[in-house]
């Protein structure tokens, strides 16, 4: 089950400054969470600093965690840390969406005063989205469409099977009704002949 660990938005204009961050660290030990959070913050900063504008990057760590970084051309950057199974495409779709929402909601002037602590109160949607995007299908419309199409195809195959069965049943019915009609015809002829033969 692919998982998202954290989503963050950072600003690269004039040094890297994290504007908003949400983490989901339920899978870690209670005592590890503090250090994991620090590590995530550090990772986000380094990744954003090392990525050029307008570029995406995918950074793998120990075969277990992946960070997807996208730095937009106007300096706003989005980072998603997931585990390996999460499909790359949905991760970048999520990053795009979140960056668009973020820049629509908060104008550039507010960027100076933001930090993860105080942003989480103003921007609770990030937390909701983190929860929602745990399922990659919810995030990426392409994946969703693919999944729906596959389900539809399965349903159609089943329907085709039942249709073929119906065809066989109908075939059987045709034969039987054919027999019935011929037998009833014989019956009628016999009755008629019985009637015609003995006249007094």
């Amino acid at each position: 089950m692919p998982k998202v660990f954290s989503i963050a938005v950072a600003d690269t204009n004039g040094g890297c400054q994290i504007l908003a961050a949400e983490n989901d660290l339920m899978s870690f030990n209670y005592f590890q969470r503090g250090s994991v959070q620090e590590f995530l913050g550090f990772f986000i900063k380094t990744a954003v600093e090392r990525t050029q504008r307008g570029m995406r990057q995918k950074i793998e760590e120990q075969q277990m965690y992946v960070g997807h970084v996208y730095v937009r051309s106007d300096g706003l950057a989005g980072v998603i840390v997931t585990d390996i199974e999460y499909p790359t495409r949905s991760a970048f779709t999520i990053v795009n969406k979140i960056l668009d929402e973020f820049s629509a909601k908060f104008p550039k002037s507010q960027f100076a005063g933001m930090s993860p602590a105080n942003t989480s109160s103003v921007y609770p949607e990030l937390k909701e989205q983190l929860v929602k995007y745990q399922d990659p299908h919810a995030a990426d419309p392409l994946l969703r469409v693919q999944r729906d199409l596959d389900e539809t195809k399965i349903v159609l195959h089943k329907t085709m099977e039942s249709l073929l069965n119906r065809g066989e049943v109908l075939d059987d019915l045709v034969q039987r009704s054919d027999q019935l009609s011929s037998q009833s015809k014989m019956f009628y002829k016999t009755a008629k002949s019985t009637n015609s033969c003995c006249t007094y």
Partner: protein, 373 residues
């Protein structure tokens, strides 16, 4: 062209007349109200005449575009003129549309202000009729425009295929700019361009929601050189003749080396075409392209399945009809046989009675003979 110098100042005119009317209303209303009504009516007709003039100008431009688009030469294609004309016509159509809507609102407002019953109906009908005729004229113009665009794209496609025959090796870089054409068209919000975006030999990149088609699917680096090399024969380099592809080629040539994105002017809009050189973006873009292709193939399969469905279903319908006929025949036969048997039974019973009678008479005669003898 002198038509470009005609400016639309009817809104200013309307504002002037309104202010004048208001001023007159304040001072001396009754004497001037017939004048007012005439003023507003003539205002209406003036605006309608203005709109009609603009529609005629648009129609003239459309004629010239038709002439240009119908030419079928391979090399004399003047894309710039045609594109300018197309842009101008589109703008004109939207402007006229807006003016007609304005006029309609204006007319409705006027009718709400003046409450005289007798004249109102006539005025209403007249203005409604005028607006309707303007709208139909505009609609016919825009449908002609659409057909011309279709003709043009068909010509472009033919030209492209002919060019491909002559310049085969550099002809494979076709898919990305057409998908950005799809973006530009959906961004520009005209359904007119949809025929243009279904390119003939794109690898299944059909017109889906414009969110992801902003990013051109990755072109292998070999083709960069064919487009980037300015010494190439321009027709071999720019093998795709869509208007966006010229812009895309320009954008690529202007790019320098390894920059992140290029801003390309298309008409009055800008399209970002990131040509990233890093792996993650390529992967992202490629995966999107693949997903789209798989979706398309799945949908095609589904379509096939449905058509097979209907075939089998129609065959089975015949069988059901046969069954129905057989069963009905059986019923008829059984009923008839039953009737025969009933007759037989009757006869039988009747016969028995007769037999008994005859037997009784015979017995009587026998007895007679025995007794006598």
């Amino acid at each position: 062209m002198e038509l470009n110098t005609i400016r639309d100042r009817s809104t200013e005119f309307h504002a002037c007349v309104d202010s004048l009317a208001r001023r007159n209303n304040l001072s001396n209303s009754r004497l001037l109200s017939p004048n007012q009504k005439q003023n507003t009516k003539s205002e209406f007709t003036k605006a309608a005449a203005q709109i009609a003039r603009e529609i005629n100008a648009t129609v003239a431009k459309l004629h010239s575009l038709t002439r240009l688009a119908r030419k079928k030469t391979l090399f004399d294609d003047r894309p710039n003129e045609i594109n300018e004309l197309v842009m101008a016509i589109k703008q004109d159509i939207t402007k006229v549309n807006r003016q007609i809507a304005l006029l309609q609102n204006h007319q409705r407002q006027q009718l709400q202000q003046h409450q005289s019953q007798a004249q109102q109906r006539q005025v209403q009908q007249h203005s409604a009729g005028v607006i309707a005729s303007l709208q139909t004229k505009l609609a016919s113009t825009s449908s002609e425009f659409k057909s011309i665009l279709e003709v043009r794209t068909q010509n472009m496609r033919d030209q492209k295929s002919r060019r491909d025959q002559y310049s085969a090796p550099s002809s494979s870089f076709i898919a990305p700019p057409t998908s950005t054409l799809a973006t530009a068209s959906s961004a520009m919000n005209t359904s007119i361009f949809t025929p243009a975006s279904v390119s003939s030999d794109a690898t299944g990149v059909t017109l889906f929601s414009g969110e992801f088609s902003l990013f051109a699917p990755a072109a292998p680096s070999a083709h960069y050189s064919s487009l980037y090399n300015p010494d190439h024969n321009p027709y071999a380099a720019v093998t795709t003749s869509d208007k966006l592809d010229d812009a895309a080629a320009d954008g690529l040539r202007n790019r320098g080396n390894g920059n992140s994105s290029s801003v390309i002017e298309i008409g009055n809009q800008q399209v970002f075409m990131p040509q990233q050189n890093n792996v993650a973006t390529m992967e992202y873009i490629e995966s999107r392209g693949q997903a789209i292709e798989s979706i398309e193939s799945t949908i095609a399969e589904l379509g096939q399945i449905y058509s097979q469905f209907t075939q089998i279903l129609s065959q089975q319908r015949e069988m059901v009809q046969r069954i129905d006929m057989n069963v009905m025949d059986t019923e008829v036969n059984v009923v008839n046989a039953h009737n025969e048997l009933a007759k037989f039974l009757d006869r039988l019973q009747g016969n028995r009675w007769l037999m008994i009678q005859i037997f009784a008479i015979l017995v009587v005669f026998f007895m007679l003979f025995v007794v006598v003898a």
